[in-house]
């Protein structure tokens, strides 16, 4: 909080007033993963973002044995 306003730390841009930011988020799902992303925009520029990927299923290597 600065001057009673909630702020968001945006790295080199310092603390930005939350009320000045536009929040966007979304989900993406692929065959083997689900991704959640979120970002905060100020004047059309991305000032902060996170992403979290859940790997639904790892990789399987099938052993092949030739018949004798």
């Amino acid at each position: 909080m600065i001057n009673g306003k909630p702020m968001l730390w945006c790295g080199e841009r310092g603390h930005l007033a939350y009320e000045d930011l536009v929040y966007e988020s979304g989900w993406e799902e692929g065959d083997s993963h689900i991704k959640f992303w979120e970002r905060w925009m100020k004047d059309g520029e991305e000032v902060k973002s996170n992403a979290h990927v859940y790997i639904k299923r790892g990789i399987e290597s099938v052993a092949v044995q030739e018949k004798m």
Binding site: W9, G11, R13, K35, W37, A51, Y54, R57, G58, I59
Partner: protein, 151 residues
């Protein structure tokens, strides 16, 4: 009962633990668990099954990211069930407080103890991060969804 041919489940499990050496080009001098790392690569890279070892070429770069990536937490020993040997890191992988402006979509798992030799490549859709966190959450460690499975 009848005989049936198979690559044994115990062999698959022991491959993950480095028990068998079918080749003679490499010998281990250590008996402890290896250390593994996870490095991120830009979407325009060509990291795939032919990638034999970690390389900094086309690796992401930016604030908060150290070349080579981060150490993978490995408290899980390889296990086997229903004819499948499997292993999954025991914790998620996090890159915190990073700014990665070049779109990336790939993580390479590699063995940082044994010459940075590659283990596996995973893709997750193109992404950038601005002053934030990127995390990879691991699947359930079993024979169906484990991160590495030999079946």
């Amino acid at each position: 009962m009848a005989n049936s041919q198979a690559i044994t489940t115990s062999f698959k499990l022991e491959v993950l633990s480095g028990v068998h050496a079918l080749g003679v080009t490499f010998s281990r001098t250590i008996t402890t668990v290896d250390s593994f790392k996870a490095a991120l690569y830009v979407a325009s890279a060509t990291v795939d099954a032919t990638t034999a070892a970690y390389s900094a070429t086309n690796e992401v770069s930016g604030t908060g990211y150290t070349a080579g990536g981060v150490v993978i937490t490995n408290a899980n020993v390889p296990a086997a069930a229903a004819g499948t040997a499997y292993w999954t890191p025991s914790a998620g992988i996090s890159y915190t407080g990073v700014t990665l402006s070049n779109s990336f979509d790939t993580v390479l798992f590699y063995n940082s103890t044994i010459g940075n030799r590659s283990v596996a490549v995973y893709t997750f859709g193109a992404q950038t991060i601005t002053t934030g966190n990127f995390t990879l959450v691991m699947p359930t460690n079993d024979q169906t969804t484990g991160l590495l499975r030999l079946t």
